[in-house]
C-alpha cells in the first residue's frame, strides 16, 4: 500500500513562494529588501491614512490627531470635483461625467465598433454641451469660465482623443501618400506640431490667436484650448499610426489591389484593421498622456481637476492639508489611467486571436 504524500496547509504557499520569491540568490535578496521596505513604510502609512485619520470635523480636530485629514475632502469634495460651477446646478456636470463614462464603456467592446458609435459620440457631446452650458428651458445658462474639475478634464481629454484620432489617421495615410503635395503637407503638419510644446500651443491659442482675428469676432477660450489639444494630439497619434502602417507586408496591399479593391476600401478593410492593432500600446500611451496633459490648461485660466484641487486648498483654514488634496486628485487620475491601461491589455489579447494557431 502506498501512502499519499501529505499536502499540508502550507504546502501550496510554500511552493509558490519558492518559485516566485526565492528562485535564485538574487531574487531572494530583492524579496527580502522589498519586505524590509514594506515593513518600514506600510505600518506608518496605514496609521496615517486610516488609523489616526480624521474623516469629518474642522481643521483643529485634524491638527490634534496627526493623521490624514480626510475631513478636508469631505468638506471640499464638490469644489474639487466640479470647480466653481454653481452649487445648486452641480447635478449637471455630474450627469455629464456619467454620460462620458457610459460612452467610454459602450465604445470598449469590439462588437460595438459600428457606425452607431459615431452618432452616439456626436449626440453624447451635444448632450454634454447642453448640460454644461444650459440656456434651454429648465437649465439656466452657465458660462464656461465657471466650468471646472473632473467634467472639464473629461471634456478636454475625451473630446481631444475622439476628434484627433480621425485627423491622425488622415495624416498618417497622407505621410505615406504617393501624391507629393499631400505627403509634404502631412509631414509639415506633423513636424510643426511635434516641434512645439503643448504649453506654448495653449498659450498661442489663448493669447496670440485672438489678436489675429478681425475685430468683433471672438472664439471662446475653452474652444480654442480644445482645438489646440486636438491638433497637437493628432500629430503624435499620426506617427504612432504610421508605425503600424509600415509594419504591414507589401503582399497585403498587392492582394487587395489584385482583388480590385479601391484605395479607401483597401485602407479601411485590410490595412488599418491590421495596422491599428499592432500599435495599441503606443496609442493608449498617447491617450493617457493627453488625459494627464489637460492639466496644463491651468496656465490659460481654465480649472481642470488638478486646478480645482488647488483652488480648494487655497482656503487658509485648510491650506495645511495639501497632501490629502493631492492624494485624492492622484487617485481620480489613477482610476482613469489604470482603466485605460487594463483596457489596452484586454484589447491586445482579444484582437490577437487570429494570430494564434489552434
Amino acid at each position: 500500500m502506498t501512502t499519499e504524500p501529505t499536502v499540508g496547509l502550507l504546502t501550496v504557499p510554500w511552493r509558490w513562494s519558492r518559485r516566485h520569491l526565492f528562485q535564485s540568490p538574487g531574487s531572494s535578496v530583492l524579496t527580502l529588501l522589498a519586505a524590509w521596505l514594506l515593513w518600514k513604510v506600510l505600518p506608518s502609512a496605514v496609521n496615517w491614512a486610516l488609523v489616526k485619520a480624521v474623516w469629518s470635523g474642522d481643521p483643529a480636530a485634524c491638527r490634534a490627531s496627526g493623521g490624514a485629514c480626510w475631513a478636508f475632502v469631505t468638506e471640499k469634495y464638490r469644489l474639487i470635483l466640479f470647480g466653481i460651477y454653481p452649487y445648486d446646478e452641480q447635478w449637471r456636470p455630474l450627469t455629464a461625467i456619467v454620460v462620458f463614462v457610459v460612452m467610454m464603456l459602450a465604445s470598449a467592446h469590439p462588437s460595438c465598433w459600428r457606425r452607431w458609435l459615431i452618432w452616439m459620440w456626436a449626440g453624447g457631446l451635444v448632450l454634454v454641451g447642453i448640460l454644461m452650458w444650459g440656456g434651454v428651458p429648465g437649465l439656466p445658462y452657465v458660462s464656461n469660465d465657471r466650468w471646472g474639475g473632473l467634467p472639464l478634464t473629461l471634456i478636454l481629454s475625451a473630446t481631444g482623443i475622439v476628434l484627433s484620432f480621425p485627423l491622425a489617421l488622415l495624416l498618417a495615410l497622407g505621410r505615406r501618400s504617393r501624391l507629393p503635395a499631400v505627403r509634404a503637407a502631412s509631414v509639415a503638419y506633423i513636424e510643426l506640431w511635434r516641434g512645439v510644446p503643448l504649453v506654448s500651443v495653449l498659450f498661442m491659442a489663448s493669447i496670440m490667436f485672438p489678436l489675429f482675428l478681425p475685430e468683433g469676432i471672438t472664439v471662446d477660450k475653452l474652444l480654442r484650448a480644445q482645438a489646440g489639444i486636438i491638433l497637437f494630439t493628432a500629430a503624435y497619434l499620426a506617427e504612432n499610426v504610421r508605425g503600424g502602417l509600415q509594419a504591414i507586408a507589401r503582399g497585403q496591399f498587392e492582394a487587395a489591389d489584385a482583388l480590385g479593391l479601391s484605395y479607401w476600401q483597401k485602407t479601411r478593410l485590410i490595412i488599418l484593421p491590421q495596422a491599428l492593432r499592432l500599435v495599441i500600446p503606443p496609442l493608449v500611451g498617447q491617450f493617457i498622456t493627453t488625459f494627464k496633459d489637460t492639466s496644463l490648461v491651468v496656465i490659460i485660466g481654465l480649472y481642470d481637476l488638478l486646478s480645482s484641487t488647488k483652488m480648494a486648498l487655497s482656503d487658509p483654514q485648510w491650506r495645511a492639508f495639501y497632501i490629502e488634496g493631492y492624494v485624492v486628485a492622484a487617485l481620480i487620475y489613477t482610476v482613469f489611467t489604470a482603466a485605460m491601461s487594463y483596457y489596452s491589455q484586454y484589447l491586445e489579447r482579444r484582437l490577437d486571436r487570429d494570430r494564434r494557431r489552434s
Partner: protein
C-alpha cells in the same frame, strides 16, 4: 481554346531604375490557353505577370487584356483587375479575417453582391478546393497548402476570366505541393485561361498548352511542352533544363 487573344503584350519594356527587367517582350495568350512561364530567377518572369494586372507598371510598349489597354488611367486598371485573378507565392491571405470573410470581402465591396449570396458563392468555391470545413477559421490556423487553396478560391469568387499564378507552390512544403497542383489542374480542365509562373515541370507537361522560357527579360523560346522539353532549340534553354532535371 479558340483564337481570340485575351492577353497581348507588344514590345513591353520595363526598368527598375537603371536595371532593364523586360526587354521588348511580346506575348499573346488566347482564350482558354494554359501558359507556363519558366526561367532562371531574375529573368523577369514574375514581373511579366505582375504587369498584366498592373501590380507593376511597364514603361514602354502596350499591354492589352480582354481588349482593354492598360494605361495610367485608373479606370482601365480597375476594369482589368475585375477580370483577372491572381495567386501569390506567399498566399497573402488577410490574417485578421476568417477564411469565409477572405472570400466574401471583394465580391461584397467591389461587385456589391449581397452578403448571403457572396457567402453562398464562397462556400461553393471552398467545396471545390476541399476546404469548406475550415470556413470559420483564421488563415494562421491552416497549413500552407490549405492557405494557398483558400487564396485560389478567393480569386475565383470574383469570377475572373483569366487567372495568374506567381510561383504558387514555391513557398510550400513538398508534401503540400500536390494538393495545390490538383486544384490548378482541375481549374485548367474547366477551361480557365491561365498564366502560371512555376518550376513544376510535371505540371507544365500535363497541363500547359504552351511553355515560355525566359532569360534576361526576354522570351528565349516558346513552344508546346513536348517540343520545348523534348527538343529545345536554344542553347540557353538546354542549359536551364539540364539544371532543373539534375535534381
Amino acid at each position: 481554346m479558340n483564337d481570340e487573344i485575351v492577353i497581348s503584350l507588344k514590345d513591353v519594356n520595363k526598368w527598375y531604375g537603371s536595371f532593364h527587367v523586360l526587354h521588348d517582350l511580346s506575348l499573346d495568350v488566347r482564350k482558354g490557353e494554359r501558359v507556363v512561364v519558366c526561367g532562371p530567377s531574375g529573368s523577369g518572369k514574375s514581373t511579366v505577370i505582375r504587369c498584366v494586372n498592373r501590380l507593376e507598371e511597364h514603361q514602354a510598349g502596350t499591354i492589352t487584356v480582354n481588349g482593354i489597354e492598360l494605361t495610367s488611367d485608373l479606370k482601365t486598371v480597375e476594369a482589368v483587375r475585375h477580370d483577372v485573378g491572381m495567386v501569390f507565392q506567399q498566399f497573402n491571405l488577410f490574417p485578421h479575417l476568417t477564411v469565409l470573410e477572405n472570400l466574401t470581402l471583394a465580391p461584397i465591396w467591389v461587385k456589391k453582391v449581397p452578403k448571403a449570396e457572396a457567402a453562398g458563392l464562397a462556400m461553393t468555391y471552398l467545396e471545390r478546393v476541399k476546404i469548406a470545413d475550415h470556413a470559420r477559421k483564421y488563415p494562421a490556423q491552416l497549413s500552407g497548402g490549405q492557405q494557398q487553396r483558400v487564396a485560389i478560391a478567393r480569386s475565383l469568387c470574383m469570377r475572373p476570366s483569366i487567372m495568374l499564378f506567381d510561383e504558387p507552390t514555391s513557398a510550400l512544403d513538398p508534401e503540400m505541393i500536390k494538393e495545390v497542383l490538383d486544384v490548378m489542374v482541375e481549374l485548367a480542365n474547366d477551361g480557365m485561361t491561365m498564366v502560371c509562373v512555376t518550376h513544376e515541370m510535371g505540371f507544365a507537361r500535363t497541363v500547359a498548352d504552351t511553355v515560355v522560357f525566359m532569360a534576361d527579360g526576354q522570351i528565349v523560346e516558346k513552344n508546346s511542352p513536348a517540343e520545348l522539353f523534348g527538343n529545345p532549340q536554344e542553347e540557353r534553354t538546354r542549359q536551364f533544363l539540364s539544371q532543373i532535371i539534375r535534381h
